[in-house]
């Protein structure tokens, strides 16, 4: 995705979304053009199979079109809202039983391009991202990995437990406590400003 104008791509996306809520198909096409590559990347990272990511992207954009009116412009970045529509769609798809069956055949195919520890994937970072990563950096390495595996790849606590060779209960506790620490750290940032 390219940030087309210096004058706030968020504003432009917000405007496109509100036009979509009025049934403006041309605005929807522009919205797709501006965001689909980024959103496909997000779906691909979780689902790791192009066909599934395509399905998730399709479902997500139909939802974005139908629920564009429910995006609240006062709330924050339009991209945040759209990314979470795609993430939720992808996580749903990942957990559907028929997809789980097929997963075994593919378990060897892990996409290194988008694994959480690949520094090449970190090429484009925002200030907000630096801040979250900074806060995650305060956690223990294993704890941070658990959160990133869950966030980026939608791995279940038991899948993560198998990967990091720790009990499921420990992984769940790490994630829960780790996220609370991240929140406290981000709140600290906000009050320091």
């Amino acid at each position: 995705m390219t940030a087309s104008t210096a004058a706030g791509p968020s504003d432009r996306l917000g405007e496109l979304l509100s036009r979509c809520s009025l049934g403006d198909q041309a605005a929807f096409a522009q919205l797709y053009e501006a965001t689909s590559a980024k959103l496909f990347g997000v779906a691909l990272r979780i689902l790791r199979r192009e066909a599934w990511a395509e399905e998730a992207l399709q479902e997500a954009f139909v939802k974005i079109w139908r629920h564009a009116g429910s995006y609240n412009p006062g709330r924050g970045r339009p991209m945040t809202w759209m990314i979470n529509v795609v993430r939720n769609q992808s996580l749903d798809l990942l957990r559907r039983a028929d997809y789980r069956v097929a997963e075994d055949e593919w378990s060897a195919e892990s996409d290194r391009r988008t694994s959480p520890d690949n520094p090449a994937a970190q090429a484009e970072t925002s200030q907000e991202m630096q801040r979250v990563l900074g806060c995650l950096g305060n956690l223990g390495e294993e704890q941070r990995d658990c959160i990133l595996l869950s966030y980026h790849q939608g791995m279940t606590p038991s899948e993560i437990a198998a990967q990091v060779e720790r009990p499921v209960g420990t992984v769940k506790t790490w994630i829960r406590r780790g996220l609370i620490k991240v929140r406290e750290c981000l709140d600290q940032w906000a009050t320091d400003l």
Partner: protein, 253 residues
């Protein structure tokens, strides 16, 4: 109530956004969220906190078929998309490659198609020319996956007939033919329509079954098949496809 506990709300909302809440628990939480604005606000706050993690996720351009499938579903008057069932009916498989492009191409090609099919006063026509209706009733501009128009299928009535006009050189392998299928609007059922085996303009009379197949189709699609009797179902991938457009409005029969 249990869910009034702010600590529990935070734990659930953060796990939900982080992708750690799975399966039935995730669905239960989503249902709960619909009726609880306080939970929704917590989830939104967590989305604002964690979504920047996606900033470094590489953008990957999706294939064009995704947009075409989306368009099919958001276009007005097309609220009932066929239910996915099995490979041949799955996802965007039978959806035309280029819906908008097809309509644009239609504007360019329909007139030339009309011109090409207008009965010309050829001297070898011995009998008096029947008063054939020359305005097409249905047109489909079939495109390849790169959205390039490949052929125009035009259906006329009075009598029922169809014209296939290849827009580029089409030479199937020996013994093969381009099988044109009609994809039924509501059920997604695929019915064989005709075969194209050369780049020549093809003019064929249509039986009632063929006319009905066109009339009830959402789109036409082409696969490569053995020349001769068409198989019951397509055996190869869709090479070309396009929306089948009714030029006379929904009441035309």
């Amino acid at each position: 109530m249990r869910y009034d506990d702010p600590q529990l709300q935070e734990a659930l909302a953060s796990a939900y956004v982080a992708g750690a809440l799975q399966g039935p628990a995730r669905r239960r939480f989503e249902a709960l969220m619909r009726s609880r604005p306080d939970l929704r606000r917590r989830v939104e706050a967590w989305e604002d906190r964690l979504t920047p993690l996606s900033d470094a996720t590489p953008a990957v351009r999706p294939p064009a078929r995704v947009w075409h499938a989306i368009q099919q579903r958001v276009a007005p008057e097309r609220t009932s998309a066929p239910q996915a069932a099995g490979f041949w009916n799955s996802l965007a498989f039978w959806r035309p490659f280029g819906a908008v492009a097809a309509v644009l191409a239609l504007l360019v090609t329909a007139y030339s198609g009309y011109q090409a099919t207008r009965p010309t006063p050829e001297p070898q026509v011995a009998e008096a020319p029947a008063p054939q209706q020359v305005l097409p009733s249905y047109v489909a501009v079939l495109e390849d996956e790169a959205n390039q128009p490949v052929m125009v299928v035009t259906a006329f009535k009075g009598p029922w007939r169809v014209t296939v006009e290849p827009l580029r050189d089409l030479s199937p392998y020996a013994g093969k033919a381009f099988q044109v299928w009609a994809v039924e609007r509501d059920s997604g059922t695929v019915r064989p329509l005709l075969q194209v085996s050369s780049g020549e303009v093809l003019r064929l009379p249509l039986g009632e079954a063929g006319w009905d197949a066109i009339k009830t189709s959402e789109s036409l699609a082409v696969t490569l098949e053995e020349a001769g009797t068409p198989p019951a179902a397509p055996t190869g991938p869709v090479l070309f496809s396009g929306l089948c457009l009714n030029l006379k409005g929904p009441t035309d029969t």
